[in-house]
Symmetry: D2
Subunit: 249 residues, 4 copies
């Protein structure tokens, strides 16, 4: 929370961004260590059902991302047309990405009928939080979410490749992660520039950093909930998204 001392435009902003980046690296280290879901993956324990369930929840929160991004431009940024335009453009670029997640589920096995179930509570909590921080509070704080989300591929790529290899998937079956990792390189750069140019006060950086940390934690909690739900499905104790149990193990 105390990454930033002063923030003179230029050197100060770059220094603040560097401290935010350092904080993010720490957070990922912690997440990669503590995530039951990611450990499961790196221990080679993932199967098609678990991967499908993960994509199912990904579908749910992703279909809100363009919307809550645009909402920032609708309700704030009254005196900052450049930022407002950034919000709308970024929203336009993120639109429909949930269909990549859906495509990837379907591509696992065309014989399995994908029936979208309601999101897990932990996924709803993530979605709720992203709308909340997009519609009130510091107008620049949602950049903290974009900052990690658009640059996450360097951290999760080892897990993604492990999934690819263990589940014998082709690139075409992993469009959500692979396509995103390319699209988002440019986004990540723009988000960094926006943070440096817009966060002029310590409170701006703090707000962005809090959103970065909280939304990453909620995403990690969602992934662990996927694993828990998978165990319940395997044990026949859940009737939610049962279609995933029809994938071959």
């Amino acid at each position: 929370m105390d990454a930033v001392g002063t923030n003179e435009i230029g050197a100060g902003g770059q220094a603040a961004l560097a401290m935010m980046r350092a904080k993010l690296v720490d957070l990922w280290q912690e997440t990669l260590t503590n995530s039951r879901f990611l450990s499961h993956v790196t221990e080679g324990k993932i199967d098609h059902a678990l991967y499908a369930l993960y994509l199912h929840e990904t579908y749910h929160y992703t279909r809100h991302n363009a919307r809550n991004q645009a909402l920032v431009g609708v309700v704030s940024a009254w005196d900052d047309p450049n930022y407002q335009q950034f919000c709308f453009r970024h929203a336009a670029e993120e639109t429909g990405h949930e269909h990549m997640a859906l495509h990837d589920i379907r591509s696992l096995d065309r014989d399995v009928d994908v029936e979208i179930a309601p999101p897990l509570p932990e996924t709803s909590v993530l979605i709720a939080y992203l709308y909340w921080i997009s519609s009130q509070g510091n107008p620049y704080q949602r950049l903290g979410y974009s900052y990690w989300a658009e640059s996450c591929y360097e951290f999760i790529m080892p897990a993604a490749l492990r999934i690819k290899s263990d589940l014998h998937l082709t690139d075409v079956q992993m469009t959500f992660i692979l396509a995103h990792s390319e699209i988002d390189v440019d986004h990540a750069r723009k988000v960094g520039e926006m943070l440096v140019s817009r966060c002029r006060k310590k409170e701006d950086w703090r707000a962005a950093e809090e959103v970065m940390e909280t939304s990453l934690r909620l995403t990690a909690a969602m992934m662990d909930a996927v694993l828990q739900e998978y165990d319940k499905l395997r044990a026949g104790r859940s009737k939610r998204a049962v279609f995933v149990t029809r994938y071959r193990c």
Copy 2:
């Protein structure tokens, strides 16, 4: 309201659009005939104060246009990513256009200190209506507003040129109208295409047509309110936006 009989995709959609266009031409004819403000202009009675007041109200509703356009993509279009993306892209293109209106006011006379006052009630009513039809009801109905707003230049250009000539303005002092008229040619085409591809039911066309007609009437009412307020300002019976009285007549 009854412009459309059936709407088979293709020929039907084009026919419906043609009937909407015919309705629009009628509405403009009616507006150009009945508008006290536009008559005032074509009779050569406009001066810098009245033009500044018109731009002042234009500034107010314009600063909401990108926002209510984006709102359509935030709250509706759940199963239509192409339309959602259209909303966000269109919003990005409309962002900040209120500053053109502001620029044009300022360019009238650099010695006059422009002090933005609250909008006239009629302007607030227009703004309120645009948010309302963007946030509830038929998801495609806001296209009815875009349809006339993006193609209005052919109808109001004579009035615009009369203002230019009577007030001895250069193109640089009329960025809002002139720049818009070029930007919007492409928009108008896209809006027409979107109407044809999205309005599949009679009710869709009816909703879009109702919004077209109502928002055009509210805009005309706003222009007449500008004239009324101008008279009050001249008579010293208003304290709103008094800066406009400092322009030379």
Copy 3:
């Protein structure tokens, strides 16, 4: 707009309220003189179809009143729990009143099947405006709407009684107007007290007064639109709310 000079708490507030009241009396005088709909009534030209159509539009805006009243308490009044509570209590008292309007339509003739149609554009504009002024701007401005709406019965009672007599209605067929006129005496008093205690600045009174005037004008415009739609229905040029034509003349 310039009813108020200074507003010292106590005497000043009462004086401001008295000026607002004087303004309201003027507005009603103007409305009673200019309203085509009300003239129609006082000239004895109303019939069951026209009255049903009026109640139909009344049904539409009334079902939003409790909602937009509560919205004031949701989005503003952060440091004013008394006002917030007033908003929620008032909303609770207004809830469901649209069913009185519906009841009154049905009671005209049980053999006519009432089929609710979409609201007229003028009714939508009124609804849109009430949400707008309830969700942004001066937190006390919606009191300007309540101020006239809760005290309107003294002004419209002659027209209501004329309707009652000309259409041979009983009290039970006029619950919306008659029940309201009693319920609202207490509301009107509370609204006046709230205005005096909450409007501390000239701008507060101005905002409330603008909302009073604008919402009354939009309501009058709605009534005139009812008459216009009635003429279209009679001429067979409208397919909206055709059920009203089935009432005996």
Copy 4:
């Protein structure tokens, strides 16, 4: 999640409510066992600073409760005026309760200057979730939050009395918990009745149950975050709400 089989009105509704109650008892058992904060209290380790910090976060989420409760009546319940009225009345009763939390902090020591800091991230997540489930999804699901919140006193009273005794507090210093425990007896009964009368489908009960469980978990997470923040404050590693460190231990 599978508490309910069928739901015939009457016996079925009462049975469903009984199963929801049983689930709640289990959840509380789990919460009382696992909550680090509540264990801290029952082990006699609470002090004025920790209690003040707990009240500080309570202040934050409580000031949104009447608002998100009213929001349910604003955005849903279109065909259910009784439920809408329940939402507005309940909101009116909950209005301003955050001031009880504030009063209780202040009463701990009049010499300490209470400076409200931003909420902890975990508190923001709870607030965000309550707005989310109040503004979309099943219209009755927020009853699941009220159901546990209004009846929590039987479960937390032992902890509350332990705080009272260990910190030598009078009833007047514990208005939030004690006053609430009385006010809410009637609320809890009404909430139960509303659940039985409104939840007609299995999905209604499931939605209410999910909100009950999730909001209780998020509240427990908030309490544990209070303890974590307290440790950081004691260690000088937080600059948030430092006023609490000025209370005598």
